[in-house]
């Protein structure tokens, strides 16, 4: 740490300030060492690693089924998307083709996750900037979506819902009705929040023209997701390399100009709307049918098969103790996470455990660009910028 060097510069009036790791205005544990001149940030250094939990090493020591709960805890604000990314990468390696209903369920849950992520991001951001009412509105909206996810999966934050080759269980009968109602309520909460925030003088002034980045820099820093869309690039994995059934829905990728925090806020708000549109279409189109592949080498057999037939029993035993087996090779598979491109790079040595799993977390490059975003601004702008880049410790440091 260049802390000592910076202190020597104190003679020219500069100060070295420490922010974090457990700082009130930042909802993550990241440490920023600031060199300030008055209220201006001259230089900054970001230190991360306070939530490094050894995810990748753990994967190397677990079989493929055991990894799914760990992926929930990567981006814990949008757990379903993480699961979808991982199980789809493994399925692609094993050459598994999912039934239609399972694909739709994955889309619905992914979009619910995307909504919770954006809602949390805006709620926390608004709260940190002093707007407390939108926090309650948006967290209430998120609560409804959590309940909807809870209804389907049995878990609010860390559902562990998807399996390699399908889904752990089918949607409950009242899920569709509940989710439709929840979406309506979320919409009304959202329009209230819009009225409170969008043209709010304080909120606007603190977000507009802060944390600015140019298009070239954003590309060079490897931004994806809402942050790249806020500089006018419409890159979205769902459109550029469609997975699941995303090509069947009518939705748009919101793009904003400006590359500042306000543009990010607008993009996020609009993405919530688009996700709602996708869920509504998917609920309408949702086909009947199986939710699992009918292949015992991939997917745990149903319980009556386990108790009723020797094949079911054996494959249950094999899958529980050893897990599914992937062919030798490697794969990079990306889905659109709530923060951007969420990629899984998996190397397999042909056994039941992966040789190496690398996650490409969307907020890692973004947090790497944090010094670029906050240098030259005021100290107070750090809060706004940090809120809008939506750093999630779990996936940043894994």
């Amino acid at each position: 740490m260049s802390l000592e060097n910076n202190i020597t510069k104190l003679e020219d009036g500069r100060l070295v300030l420490n922010m974090g790791p457990s700082h009130p205005a930042m909802h993550g544990i990241v440490r920023i060492i600031l060199t300030v001149e008055g209220e201006r940030v001259v230089n900054s250094e970001v230190e991360i690693g306070y939530l490094h939990r050894g995810f990748e090493k753990t994967c190397e020591n677990s079989n493929y089924n055991q990894i799914i709960p760990y992926t929930d805890r990567l981006n814990y604000v949008s757990p379903f998307i993480n699961e979808v990314g991982f199980v789809m990468a493994v399925e692609k390696m094993m050459g598994v083709e999912l039934p239609e209903r399972a694909k739709y369920i994955r889309v619905i849950m992914s979009e619910i996750s995307r909504m919770t992520d954006h809602l949390t991001c805006i709620a926390a951001n608004a709260m940190e900037l002093g707007a407390f009412t939108p926090y309650f509105y948006l967290i209430n909206a998120r609560e409804l979506l959590y309940q909807s996810g809870d209804m389907a999966s049995g878990g609010r934050v860390t559902p562990n819902y998807f399996r390699i080759g399908g889904t752990s269980f089918d949607l409950t009968p009242d899920f569709i009705e509940f989710t439709k109602n929840a979406l309506k309520k979320v919409d009304s909460y959202l329009s209230d929040t819009r009225k409170l925030l969008e043209r709010n003088r304080i909120f606007y002034d603190r977000l507009k023209d802060t944390g600015k980045i140019t298009r070239e820099d954003a590309v060079s820093y490897g931004f994806t997701g809402p942050l790249i869309r806020s500089v006018g690039i419409d890159y979205d994995v769902r459109k550029y390399s469609p997975y699941l059934v995303y090509d069947r829905f009518d939705f748009e990728i919101p793009v904003a100009d400006g590359g500042d925090n306000y543009a990010r806020f607008l993009v996020r708000m609009e993405e919530i709307n688009q996700s709602r549109k996708i869920i509504e279409q998917a609920l309408l189109q949702l086909p009947d049918g199986p939710i699992d592949v009918d292949d015992y080498s991939v997917r745990l057999p149903q319980k009556d098969e386990v108790y009723g037939s020797i094949e079911g029993l054996i494959s249950h035993f094999k899958l529980t103790f050893e897990g599914p087996k992937t062919p030798k090779g490697e794969i990079y598979f990306a889905v659109e996470g709530a923060n951007g491109e969420l990629g899984y790079y998996i190397v397999s040595d042909g056994t039941h455990k992966p040789w190496r799993v690398k996650v490409r977390p969307p907020c890692f490059p973004v947090t790497g660009a944090l010094p670029r975003l906050i240098n030259g601004g005021y100290i107070a702008d750090i809060v706004a910028t940090f809120g809008q880049i939506n750093m999630i410790g779990g996936e940043l440091e894994r």
């Binding site: 050894g54 814990y76 779990g394």
Partner: protein
């Protein structure tokens, strides 16, 4: 029989210890040491659906020096361990620690090189909340448990 019989209903007698503990337990000022996933349920608990304000603990103080309950919310790894201990040492007595979720309690299912297996290896803990992450209702339950614990405390040790 007590002073009430002499002075009427405008008086109440009690033990000093009881009153002080009663006041303490309904006015927790908590410091959220939020690290990981459990933070999401922490936010839910503090929002209006579950409304922790009913228990007098709704106001997070974001300085350990002004807080008396430390919520350790989420995984604590080896890199963060000194920070947690420093935070705890900055708090003034009386102070209590609530370990929020499986990771803070025991390291959870992160049994590897990076994670401290339980914050009780760093600081003493009063109440453990199980769950990964615990549901808001479990958090409220734990808060009530902590209140009972505070009520039973002796002023002079």
């Amino acid at each position: 029989m007590g002073l009430e019989t002499i002075f009427g209903k405008s008086w109440a007698t009690s033990k000093m210890e009881y009153v002080i503990n009663w006041a303490r337990k309904f006015s927790f000022f908590d410091y959220p040491f939020v690290t990981a996933c459990c933070g999401m349920e922490f936010m839910s608990t503090f929002a209006s659906t579950y409304d922790i304000a009913r228990f007098g603990a709704e106001f997070p103080r974001f300085s350990p020096r002004q807080a008396d309950v430390l919520f350790v919310v989420g995984t604590v790894n080896q890199k963060l361990a000194p920070v947690l201990r420093m935070t705890y040492e900055q708090m003034v007595e009386p102070k209590w620690v609530l370990s929020f979720g499986a990771c803070a309690t025991s390291g959870g299912f992160y049994d590897n090189y990076a994670v401290v297996d339980g914050i009780d290896k760093i600081i003493p803990v009063d109440v453990y909340i199980p769950g990964c992450p615990p549901r808001p209702k479990a958090v409220l339950d734990a808060l009530i448990k902590l209140q009972e614990h505070v009520q039973r405390e002796k002023l002079i040790k």
